[in-house]
Subunit: 343 residues, 4 copies
């Protein structure tokens, strides 16, 4: 931590700051600038708690330097992690595709979607059984019945299942069943839930919060890893900005950012990221070209009839076309040895 | 709902849209513009689910018209609600002040803070026993021990207690104890938690999410009310924007907006809203002048030693000065009959 | 400037950074943390240009410390400035009110508006003769004809005139005529225009850019002052955020922020700041209570017929009611000696 | 336009709205919903100006439906436009690359950069002679001297020149010299400047404003085209969001959005879009895969010595590596017939 003093800070102000730092067992060094003095804090800054240096007399601002996450950090773990999810490797050579409807609506709809997902080449079937919805009067999911249909689809089409867990009580039953647990955007800082999935033995896909910074997202993953679960996968799903044409603004730069700051894999959700089915193909290709480890795509046998998130679901025809293009692109990048990241 | 067709939509496209609308029992009316056709949907649009009209051929865009919240709405309940919290009325003639430290740190700190809060004229003591923190390595609160100290402070200084509830399991114990339950910004869309406090018999203060729209916030309150708990108070605590000088951007216009859209009271949190102790006095005065029903202010006997959120806590001296000014301003507005709202 | 090195930066990396700093005549001091080294840069950092320290091997990040604006800064000029505009003092004891229509539409409309503005107690008449509009097909203003009507209204009702200047060529003619030049939000970083008004002898009201940080805004004022014109007044008019209920999010905390960082006055525009006429009264009262030096309010003899920005204009009745409340509030704050700012 | 009435609007309110609409020569149709009435406005809505329907009694909200831009719109011009810039085609089969330093710093620096740009395969040399800078004390460009060096580099290496024009007076001299005029982000709504380049005979590259919506951006292009200049190229360069890790958030979805809404080409600027040299390669590949018509990349012979924007400039080595990857990717997409867009 670096503490920047006001130009008119007194010697006493500086002495008080140094004593505050030393009172928690840290060392302080003063550096004299031409306009203002700077106090550098040396040692493990977590000792500082959030001791409110900024509120002391004569202090202009303090600047945190070291990162607060560790297990998630690439500094701590320089090699990229490959996460094994029921035999499918995420973060390895091949991008992993998860496809399926936003919500499980009926047995028929899900089995049909699963057949299409598998035929198109996806390794995972997605589908929400519990749906967090803005209004209490919107469709909230089929719950356990939905899980049963997902299980049937898994056996029949050889797909792995990723599904959202929205509350602590559901972690055990959903873990017993799903291959990959999803923490949704609205729960990214539901710390109680993060700890609970951290104690589960299932891999977790952590979606970025609606307005979460990269730093908050990395710290949310740290909550999971600190409880012992090392299998975390990030999922960029768009952030909230002033632009209203798209449902969210897909932050494609999160892909190289996460790859630089963390050893964990990252996949991209172009469906929630844009809210527009027309953008799924271009954003999927872009994500793979940017170095993403996979995609999660909303596809519906009949999007116009979807109970939830229809405008961002693609039809089976667009899905096949998109999958063919993704697959060719991934092969091209691998064959040519093009690594989008410079590291 | 109004469905706007593309200028080049065919008669068949329009027919398909009408049929889709009728298939869920709603009526459709076509209106011909000079450039494009519009289909109006009549009837209870919740029947539509989110049937994905937008994904149908020839559809440019659909625009929702009626609001999805009802119990929260002023249309539904034209008179302003006054919420009784253990005898203190929120939403009535006098602004209600809640003051105290961000986190309960120790018995001494809390009792000292309570004494100051009461002396300054606050009706409520605030103080977090369970703290949701971005990093798993930050101070997480004293938990039950903290609740015990809050209880002691309440008896000793005749204050009501407002404290945050961060997980479903804590709703029962905290409800047994606190006068007012706080749902924090990070949990504004933790729907499971909203339902649980909706089933409690305690009033709830619902903070606005970090990047929540007014509409999402109103719908979150609807989750609580739909479960039977009619005592909900909104708390504006700043939203996330691009500006980094302040910790958040305090959206003062949320006060007249909520007053217009809902019958429920709204208070303002200038401490989290700005993250700067210097701004607490001006933003408190502004909130009262804008028509807020109260304030929640972070005050700490010794902000420079605060374990959490020090830079935004004011000292006892500033607190007394601010309280005197607020109290005079509230009296002035009442005596002069100045109603900031036009309604 | 403080340069933070990577934990794995080599001794050579650090040497290269020090040499780069020294090559432009600045001194460097190395500070050893437990995790990483920090290089402090001493001396006038403007010598550094933007020498791209961040791109050097082993550098994690550089953090600027001293501010880039000087003439605007309160550090440079501790006493608050009172700006005299044709005899009206802005930044003094009394808030200054500017009122009038968004655009000058006709002689009758303007004279009627001026009469109402004066009767309500405003010192300034506002009204755009040149209107910057998003679409080239929207009404663009009456231009010179509009200036003529403003002049007539000034003589007839004893008001000062504030009007926008949107291009370099207009600075001379508008300066010859207006009492106060307005730089609009869209032109806040039109540096050529800022320099031109900096060379004029007319006071300038500088509106905040749609997405401008406080730092950028202060630097924009520095452009004007660096050319010799010391009479600059800030005007907060709302910033662009994700919220769509209001046209912009009025950043009320900009009032204490600017008062803390600069010696120049700041006024508030609740009309553009919210885009809703219902919010003008509460936001006006809030601004005065927060310490603003004045207000600029859109008022129209007949808002429903306004050619531009009707929804945010108030009627004469609301204007009178709002002015009465503002005037009482300002008197109350003065009589009671309540200073919203702690400084 | 669709006008949504309050549920409690009276018959008189509705009558007044209809009369207001008819008073400007438009037709109105009333549609009765179950909760509220809707008034549809038929005819050329530009006649409405911004007549402030929203401020009328009983009106809840009005929703604009038809777009305000025409010449820019794909509806108006269904075929994609290919813009010829001094013989280089933008918007055709091959992506166009513009490379070079942020600012022209010296003859040597520029000639060296031009040699590298040409060797790597770029068709355009970029380099600012006039630099708009946040602080008046930052390096502002070499101005005419810079143009001279650009001219020399053009002849020597057979590159086209793209350079920014920041003020009306500079349009003529820069048009006489440059192949492509750049309008920078800060000037996207400098309407006077847009009109001036609209009267020039040079193609214009229009950067997206820092916080511009797609709609505002398209309207800004309409200003240029409405003056007669049909050669406009969009350039996405990142938008301002709450995220601070990247300088801006590169909105990759702007590529398919602009391609859908307009017939004009769009290129991407990964350098300003991210502010980080490490992200240039992945974001360049992603942009091409998303369907962008080209890229503008900051490259500097020695980024660590750059006077401006060094952290986002790549070295010659990274530039060559990136160009090779881009070129292979573009060839792959063409050979395989992969069109990222579904249209």
């Amino acid at each position: 931590m670096v503490i920047i003093m006001n130009p008119d800070a007194t010697a006493e102000n500086i002495k008080a700051v140094i004593e505050a730092v030393q009172s928690v067992g840290l060392a302080a060094k003063v550096m004299e600038g031409t306009q203002q003095k700077i106090v550098g804090v040396l040692g493990d800054k977590t000792k500082l708690g959030s001791m409110a240096i900024d509120a002391m007399e004569g202090v202009e601002q303090s600047v945190a330097i070291s990162k607060s996450y560790k297990l998630v950090s690439r500094e701590f773990h320089p090699m990229s992690s490959v996460i094994d999810v029921s035999g499918v490797k995420i973060g390895g050579d091949e991008p992993v595709i998860m496809a399926g409807p936003c919500a499980v609506e009926s047995r028929n709809q899900l089995l049909e979607a699963a057949e299409i997902a598998a035929k198109g080449g996806a390794q995972f079937l997605r589908g929400g059984a519990y749906k967090p919805r803005t209004s209490p009067y919107s469709f909230q999911g089929l719950e356990e019945e939905g899980l049963k249909y997902l299980d049937e689809a898994r056996s029949k089409y050889g797909l792995k299942i990723v599904t959202e867990v929205t509350e602590v009580e559901a972690v055990k039953p959903v873990s017993d069943f799903a291959d990959l647990l999803q923490i949704g955007a609205r729960n990214m800082q539901n710390f109680r839930l993060l700890k609970e999935v951290g104690r589960s033995n299932r891999p977790v896909m952590l979606k970025r919060g609606l307005a979460a910074t990269l730093d908050e997202w990395l710290n949310a993953a740290e909550y999971i890893m600190a409880e012992g679960n090392q299998k975390v996968i990030f999922c960029e799903r768009g952030i909230r900005t002033y632009e209203t044409y798209t449902r969210n603004t897909l932050d494609m730069s999160a892909v190289p950012a996460i790859k630089h700051l963390s050893h964990l894999p990252i996949i991209v959700d172009p469906s929630h990221g844009t809210g527009k089915w027309r953008m799924i193909k271009p954003m999927s290709l872009a994500a793979i070209a940017a170095g993403a480890d996979g995609l999660i795509i909303e596809m519906h046998p009949n999007p116009a009839k979807a109970l939830s998130d229809g405008p961002q679901s693609i039809t089976p025809e667009h899905y096949y076309e998109t999958m063919t293009a993704i697959s060719k692109l991934a092969k091209f990048l691998k064959d040519e040895g093009i690594n989008p990241l410079n590291d």
